[in-house]
């Protein structure tokens, strides 16, 4: 055990930037009013929330009134999918991919049980959905398409713009789970032609427990629960004011950093990928180029991901195997299976997700430690020996 921490799990969550914490602090003890209140302390907070909404909208090229703050990416995805479905009596058809996050995937499964039809589009070996496949899947009663902007495990970027223009052409609603992309790559809702876009602050150095859903003006979506009239009844409940302020500040900072951050992370990413692939029997998961700037996902054959993580952890390296959210599950990742990876290679997958804080030294350190970890575990493994 040692103390140095090389955190390479930014796909799971990120540290909150100091500027973001600073922006939130006044809203705990000083500006604590309820934005729904009529009095001055309440109205001041309302104004701050309005400004945060404007900032958030601006970062996405959206109108402030099209932004709804939620408790995170999961809730945003649920509102977009279930809220849209609820508004249609008598079922209909949904198109999504086979590699969505559970917050989309599992809602679709539920909707199937409730009588909706769902097409789960396959992906190619790199995890890409093809716009052509989307087009072919469309039925007369298709009412929504939901394709994630980038996959959280393997980092593959999807052709959202192409799918968006297809959806627009045919008048079908289009949702993208952009939780992994917002703050990492430029996002413009008009450019992508999306009707819904989900994001979560803790993925771009903002606080946990706050997210947003963009809903294009005129698009009807029902809330998934009831209460007061906050967020125009789309998302009732007293607003998480410090969270909203933090989200907007984090987004503003992240977006303005994109030009330099993207280049830097891509360089670190490619160096890490290159180094890892120099080890025997290691394969890259996801797309070689169309991938998130900070995402590295490889499979170490003959060994199992968790044991690698554990060994990395003991060297002070924080990484993950598949989605952090499903790490409680024992099933092999549905994402890796969808790319056609055999089950045992899928079990050996490890994700290193780089972020703002990572340096070249971090990459070097990881590349120094990984080979001996892999060797040690392979020495214990029966499948390595029986080759």
């Amino acid at each position: 055990m040692q103390n140095q921490l090389v955190y390479m799990d930014h796909g799971a969550t990120t540290p909150v930037r100091k500027e973001v914490v600073d922006s939130m602090l006044p809203f705990f003890q000083e500006q604590y009013g309820n934005p729904s209140s009529l009095h001055t302390p309440g109205r001041k907070v309302r104004q701050a929330v309005d400004e945060a909404r404007e900032k958030t909208a601006q970062a996405l090229g959206a109108d402030p009134e099209d932004i709804y703050f939620t408790s995170g990416g999961t809730e945003s995805n649920n509102i977009a999918m279930r809220g849209t479905a609820k508004n249609r009596s008598g079922g209909g058809h949904i198109i999504t991919s086979s590699i969505e996050h559970h917050a989309v995937f599992d809602v679709c499964r539920d909707l199937e049980n409730e009588g909706y039809k769902v097409t789960y589009l396959p992906v190619d070996q790199f995890g890409r959905v093809s716009p052509e496949m989307v087009r072919k899947a469309i039925k007369p009663d298709t009412f929504i398409i939901s394709i994630m902007a980038a996959n959280n495990e393997i980092g593959t970027l999807q052709p959202i713009r192409e799918i968006g223009s297809l959806a627009g052409e045919l008048g079908i609603l289009f949702h993208t789970d952009a939780v992994q992309v917002v703050g990492q790559l430029p996002v413009n809702v008009d450019d992508l032609n999306v009707d819904f876009l989900s994001l979560s602050a803790h993925k771009f150095n903002g606080p946990k427990g706050i997210g947003a859903l963009y809903v294009r003006k005129g698009v009807k979506v029902d809330s998934i629960y009831r209460g007061g009239s906050q967020e125009r009844k789309m998302r009732p409940g007293t607003e998480n004011v410090p969270g909203i302020i933090g989200l907007s500040r984090a987004l503003e900072l992240a977006v303005s950093d994109i030009p330099k951050k993207k280049k830097r992370l891509e360089a670190l990413r490619d160096e890490l990928i290159g180094g890892l692939l120099r080890i025997d029997d290691v394969v890259l998961n996801g797309h070689p180029e169309q991938r998130l700037p900070g995402n590295v996902n490889v499979s170490f054959k003959h060994i199992e991901g968790e044991s690698v993580l554990l060994s990395l952890d003991m060297e002070g390296i924080a990484a993950s195997s598949g989605s952090a959210c499903s790490s409680g599950s024992l099933e092999p990742s549905h994402v890796l299976s969808a790319t056609g990876l055999d089950q045992s290679t899928a079990h050996g997958s490890v994700r290193f997700s780089l972020g703002w804080g990572n340096s070249k030294e971090d990459v070097d350190y990881v590349l120094q430690k990984v080979p001996s970890i892999v060797e040690r575990l392979r020495n214990i493994s029966p499948t390595y020996h029986s080759r």
Partner: protein, 124 residues
């Protein structure tokens, strides 16, 4: 998640490897999580004289295998046959609930190795 005993057995697994002259070899695996264990035993006077393992799997799987080999070395095979996966987990000071099902299969591999040994004996 894992206690210190587990981590110790994961980090410094005892009795790893193969026994080229094994008297019995047992295998087991979990379809669900993909874990696989192979156990080799050397038997003398109905006692497990030597034991080795190879494991593909998570930390719990590796630690369970390692702990089991320590538990059975020198034991009579009849006694060894009685060892349960739960006893292995207990000897490790406990495993996370999720890991009890699929990664804690070393006793099964041992039982299979003993059965293999018995069959070979019967055959000879």
């Amino acid at each position: 998640m894992y206690n210190e005993t587990v981590i110790d057995h994961f980090n410094n697994p005892r009795n790893i490897g193969e026994l080229s002259d094994a008297d019995g070899v047992g295998e087991t695996g979990s379809f669900k999580c993909g874990d696989t264990m192979v156990l080799y035993i050397k038997v003398k006077n109905e006692r497990i004289e030597d034991v080795r393992f190879q494991t593909y799997g998570c930390g719990a799987a590796i630690a369970s295998s390692s702990m089991l080999t320590e538990m059975v070395k020198g034991k009579k095979i009849d006694e060894a046959m009685q060892i349960t996966n739960q006893e292995v987990a207990d000897a490790l000071g406990g495993l996370p609930p999720l890991k009890l099902h699929c990664s804690n299969l070393a006793a099964d591999a041992l039982h299979n190795a003993i059965i293999d040994y018995r069959q070979k004996q019967g055959a000879s």
